[in-house]
Amino acid sequence: MRFLICIKQVPDSTTRVKVAPDGTSVVTDGVTWSISPYDEYAIELALEHKDTAADTIVSVISVGGPRTKDALRQALAMGCDDATLVTGDGADALGALGVANALKSAALELKPDLVLCGKQASDDDQGFVGAALAEALGWPHVAVVTKIAPSAGGTEIWKETEGGHEVWKSSGGAVLTVQKSAKEPRYPSLPGIMKAKKKEIPERPVAGLEDPVKLEIVKLEPPPARGGGKIFKDGDTKAYAAELAKLLRDEAKVL
């Protein structure tokens, strides 16, 4: 079985993002870049499959500039078999449909049985590329997936629902967008890291790809600074409770 995992490189969740002076982008200086967390869960899902079925091939792909290679190497270190970078001038500026088109052309060549993406990227939270890729390939799409399991003539796909799971079955190619699951993405072994360092990462040109819809960021704003909060000190607990209820109802308007 062959997996294609589509990943995006984003500012690491430990990084404090600052809006750049132009008001439409973020400061990239001093930012640590890593694989978007849901994409890491997608990788983990495929690697778990590989742990049980040795003939599994896990390919990973990303669209972006030269530093995107670090994200691909991280995926290789975790245990993915090969990586492809779609790059070139304008790779970073590609819109969601453009990215989906880039992934589609690679997918047609690599012929995966399943394509996995994170359910959304942690930077812009659009959750668009996976669904768009399914549409472009003409494949079915299952969202918020937490588990896959081989079954006779296809794959069982567990989709999270409110308080439970739906189990789907796919008999052919499908695009799955992956949710956080109980199994944390694995930490790479050192032999894995060393092997990943030496691996060739082939590149595909971004040039000539269709990017039909251009979205433009008009303005970025940091969230408003948090207020000081209120601390009740010295006094009657009962009175606090009444006061607290009043404030929650009238001021915070959460009751």
Partner: protein, 673 residues
């Protein structure tokens, strides 16, 4: 007058050949097993090694640790007796075989010494037998082996005394100026003519027992009487707090102890030397709180695996055998329970290196198999990405110092000291107060210092102790490069883990600095009157020894001296778990970031010990002071869980000092601001 004439010599020769032959055969086998280990160089520091041999081996220094003094003395008498009697035995054999006497063998002193020590050994052996049979020490591993050995030694001593005594009766020894003083006190109950036969019989019993003992020795744990000599000689001369460096790590093919070949020959010698005394286990905080770790068992499991698979590995150079970390008996959970507190290493009378083994096995699990516990993996990912194990924003590292007038090195490149703040004091709110306290003290003393703020990154200690040598090297190199950029020479650390790894481990990567722990520096500043402390209320403060300050670096006195210098403070020792027997808070060895679900939490036990010590002295302390951010976090959690946070306040000694700073005498010139 050995009773070996005629055929007797040949019988003795045959028995001696059998005894020594069996010894040699087994020893050669054990030696070849041992050499399956990799060839670690342990020949440097000859002077220190000879000194260890004198102090630890000959003077038995490590046997007299506090709780084991009486037992230690009993052992020492057996040991010293053995040394003397071995000389006597050698003399007996050479005399019996070739009629050669050792020079001085007939001197009054030697005869006296053999006789007196034989009696001392006999008494000690009887005590040891009684103790084993009726007062079994809690964690001592009682097996038949121990009884066999004690029985053999008792037989040796008894037969020695009998043949001396019968020798006197038969008139053999009467020729000497000085007969054996104790043997001659015994009655001489032999009818005329029998004394010679008793003498001959006892002599033969003695000699045959000696040779039987020799043959049995390498099959038993009693082998330590042979292996302790080299085991002490070749013990690690690294600072105790430094783990073994893996050179050219990127060129290795496997990492950590994947097979028995990946443990060094010295690790295997440790296994042969273990006497199964159980002192390591007795002092292990993990074992004491119901974790699956038993340090003695780790040592013995590795030895048993070597004895079991040694032949297989010798026969086939390509064979790997069972990975030691997977050995049926040694489960990964055992390895992950270790806090690297060094209580085992501190106590081991024969200098076994428990932590090195545990870390080598962890290295295999973490780097080779990527099988560290998930929380440990998360902490390592955080160190990689954010430069701290909690995953706090790297850009916020210097935020604690805002508005305090603490310069960064970028602002004041000429500062004398670098204050290496560490992750805990940079990001943990409770510990930020400790960093602020130190900054205030240094400013008051007029000490020139600066911090690195966002240019600082985790020193790597948690990663290294979780078995991730590679990540430790990356972190260390990054810091060393930053230090070099600012030409840093002197470093202050308020965290014993930062202190230990920078002082003892960075030299492995070429980073050599003058490193002090904050409490050492503050002690100096108080002594030099650069810091003066005002009056304060009377209160009792218990001192908790952080493992990486105390046992790993021998810093017991400075923190105590600082506490003693604070007006009104009465220092309390957490007896008996203080100084070198200090009990870990549970956070070391990367345990800070791992869940602790099995048994009692180590920090809860520690709080109970403080309360017990308070009860024993009839008054509870108001505070428990430490010098380590992780101890502080753990103690805070401990008193919280016990619901006594109001009665027993965990603090850092630095906070107590900062609160008493006599600001009226603060120097007006502050080069740091």
């Amino acid at each position: 007058m050995p009773p070996t004439t005629g055929i007797g010599v040949y019988i003795l020769l045959a028995v001696a050949l059998l005894g020594f032959g069996a010894f040699a055969y087994r020893s050669w086998k054990l030696y070849r097993y041992l050499r399956l280990g990799w060839n670690e160089d342990r020949t440097q520091h000859l002077g220190k090694r000879l000194r260890d041999e004198l102090v630890i081996y000959l003077l038995q220094r490590k046997l007299f640790k506090r709780p084991y003094l009486i037992r230690g003395l009993a052992h020492a008498f057996i040991f010293w007796g053995f040394l003397v009697i071995t000389l006597g035995t050698t003399d007996l054999l050479t005399a019996g075989l070739a009629g050669l006497r050792m020079p001085g063998a007939e001197s009054a002193f030697f005869v006296w010494a053999v006789d007196v020590f034989a009696a001392l050994v006999l008494v000690s052996i009887l005590l040891a037998l009684v103790r084993r049979a009726f007062f079994k020490p809690p964690r001592m591993h009682i097996a038949l082996d121990g009884y066999v050995i004690l029985g053999l030694i008792a037989a040796l001593m008894a037969s020695l005394l009998v043949f001396e005594n019968a020798g006197l009766a038969a008139g053999y020894l009467a020729l000497h100026q000085a007969p054996p003083p104790l043997a001659q006190l015994l009655p001489l109950p032999y009818p005329a003519g029998y004394a010679a036969s008793v003498f001959a019989a006892a002599w033969w019993v003695h000699v045959v027992t000696v040779l039987g003992f020799t043959a049995y020795l390498p099959q038993s744990k009693h082998l330590h009487i042979v292996t302790t000599l080299p085991n002490v000689f070749f013990r690690s001369q690294r600072p105790r707090g430094a783990l073994r460096f893996v050179d050219k790590i990127e060129e290795q093919e496997t990492f950590g102890a994947a097979t028995l070949r990946d443990l060094s020959w010295k690790q295997h010698l440790d296994g042969y030397t273990c006497t199964e005394c159980g002192r390591c286990s007795d002092n292990c905080p993990a074992l004491a709180t119901g974790k699956p770790l038993d340090p003695q068992k780790i040592v013995l499991d590795l030895r048993d695996l070597l004895l079991k698979e040694g032949d297989l590995l010798l026969k086939d150079p390509a064979a790997t055998g069972t990975p030691p970390a997977h050995q049926l008996a040694t489960k990964p959970e055992e390895l992950w329970s270790c806090t690297t507190c060094a209580a085992c290493v501190e106590q081991c009378p024969v200098t076994i290196e428990h932590i090195d083994k545990i870390v080598d096995l962890r290295r295999y699990l973490t780097m080779q198999e990527a099988a560290a516990p998930p929380e440990a993996q998360k902490a390592m990912t955080n160190i990689e990405r954010a430069g701290n194990p909690w995953g706090e924003a790297a850009s916020a590292r210097g935020d604690w110092a805002e508005g305090l007038g603490v310069p960064t090195f970028a602002e004041n490149p000429d500062a004398e000291y670098l204050y290496f703040v560490g992750c805990a004091a940079s990001f943990d709110r409770r510990n930020q107060r400790v960093a602020k306290a130190l900054a205030t003290i240094l400013q008051a003393a007029g000490t020139s210092f600066a911090i690195l703020a966002t240019e600082e990154t985790c020193n790597g200690d948690p990663a290294r102790r979780m078995g991730n040598e590679y990540l430790w090297q990356l972190q260390a190199q990054q810091n060393i490069e930053t230090f070099a950029r600012y030409k840093v020479r002197k470093i202050i650390a308020s965290c014993p883990h930062c202190f230990n790894t920078i002082a003892n481990e960075y030299p492995q990567l070429g980073g050599n600095y003058e490193v002090v722990h904050a409490l050492q520096l503050v002690q100096d500043l108080i002594e030099q009157k650069k810091v003066t402390l005002g009056a304060g209320p009377a209160e009792t403060v218990a001192y908790h020894d952080p493992c990486y300050l105390g046992r790993h670096n021998g810093i017991y006195e400075d923190p105590r001296a600082v506490l003693d210098a604070i007006d009104g403070v009465t220092r309390m020792e957490i007896e008996p778990h203080h100084r070198e027997r200090g009990f870990c808070c549970g956070a070391g060895g990367g345990r800070m970031w791992m869940e602790e679900k099995v048994g009692q939490r180590v920090n809860h036990r520690r709080v109970e010990q403080i309360l017990d010590a308070g009860n024993a002295r009839g008054a509870q302390p108001a505070k428990v002071a430490s010098g380590c951010p992780f101890c502080l976090i753990m103690l805070d959690e401990g008193v919280g869980a016990k619901g006594i946070a109001e009665q027993l306040k965990p603090v850092d000694v630095l906070e107590l000092v900062a609160a008493r700073l006599d600001h009226s005498r603060v120097s007006k010139e502050q080069p740091t601001t």
